[in-house]
Amino acid sequence: MHGWLVNSKSVGTSSGERQMKELRLGQDQNSEVDFEQIVRDNIAWMLAVAQRILKDRSLSEDAVQVAFSKIYRNLDGFEGRSSLRTWMHRFVVNEALMLLRKQKRINEQPIDPLLPEFDHNGCRADDPFKLPKTSEDHLQSRQVREIMKEKIDALPDQYRIVLVLRDIEEMSTSEVAKALELSEANVKVRLHRARAALKKLLEPMMRGGAL
């Protein structure tokens, strides 16, 4: 669990790092106040990460609670080589993945029906379509984001998790491979299939100009 590489793309919070240093120095005295501030400053995004993985608010709160407990007990492990947010990120991802593995309602639907089809010559058999123009603003609109959440959540879990960790959490292939105990080659295969399947699920919206 502690063998993660750091993600240089994650956002750092210098005030958070200062808080963490102060908290370590005075852990027996004013730590209650300092730790509370760290919780308040970081709980929203940590809940968001857990929800992306677990798709369940109640389970996400459990994951965040355990993650904060481990963060508190591992304060000495934060050496400032990565941002505080990067360091905390791994705790909440690991707890969420652990809870996901314990779930009996994992979506193990086959992904094959959502993958592109080819004829005996190796040519695409799917009906091609011209993509309507759109703007970055439109992709970030609430309407599109709601569509994306629904369609991402519809992917089989073993593919959805890889897509969430790589494309939304912006973890590297090696970080995802370590977290999921997969080979890097397997992560890449699953990521490509997840993107291709998601594209298929989004096609009606893209053809209609909604995306």
Binding site: E32, F35, E36, V39, R40, I43, A44, W45, L47, A48, V49, Q51, R52, E61, V64, Q65, F68, S69, Y72, R73, P116, F118, D119, H120, N121, G122, C123, R124, A125, D126, P128, F129, K130, L131, T134, E136, L139, Q140, R142, V144, R145, E146, M148, K149, I152, L163, D167, I168, K188, L191, H192, R195, A196, L198, K199, L202, E203, M206, L211
Partner: protein
């Protein structure tokens, strides 16, 4: 009629993609991830881009694939709007349980 034209076009492509230095759409599919991450060796990248130039289906497919990826990355913002909905009792529970 449209279906017949598409079938004929696919047959012609099927023959063309067997030429030296060419790949099929199926093989093109296998290289997409590495191409977008700039991990293809130069020779394979040239072959990939040659296929992209001659195959409209794969050009359209790749454009939709990229749109999907951009929309996925943009969806991250959705979850950053949770800040207003963090319950106080969760914070209290975290603080109470931090050393358990």
């Amino acid at each position: 009629m449209k279906r017949t034209a598409q079938t004929l076009k696919r047959r012609m492509h099927g023959v063309m993609f067997k030429f030296p230095g060419m790949i099929t759409c199926n093989e093109f599919e296998d290289f997409i991830l590495a191409y977008l991450e700039d991990e293809l060796p130069p020779t394979r990248k040239r072959v990939f881009e040659l296929h992209l130039r001659v195959c409209k289906s794969c050009r359209l497919y790749l454009a939709a694939y990229k749109r999907t990826l951009a929309a996925t990355k943009a969806s991250r913002k959705d979850y950053d709007e949770l800040e207003a909905s963090v319950p106080e009792d969760l914070i209290a529970a975290i603080l109470a349980a931090k050393e358990s």
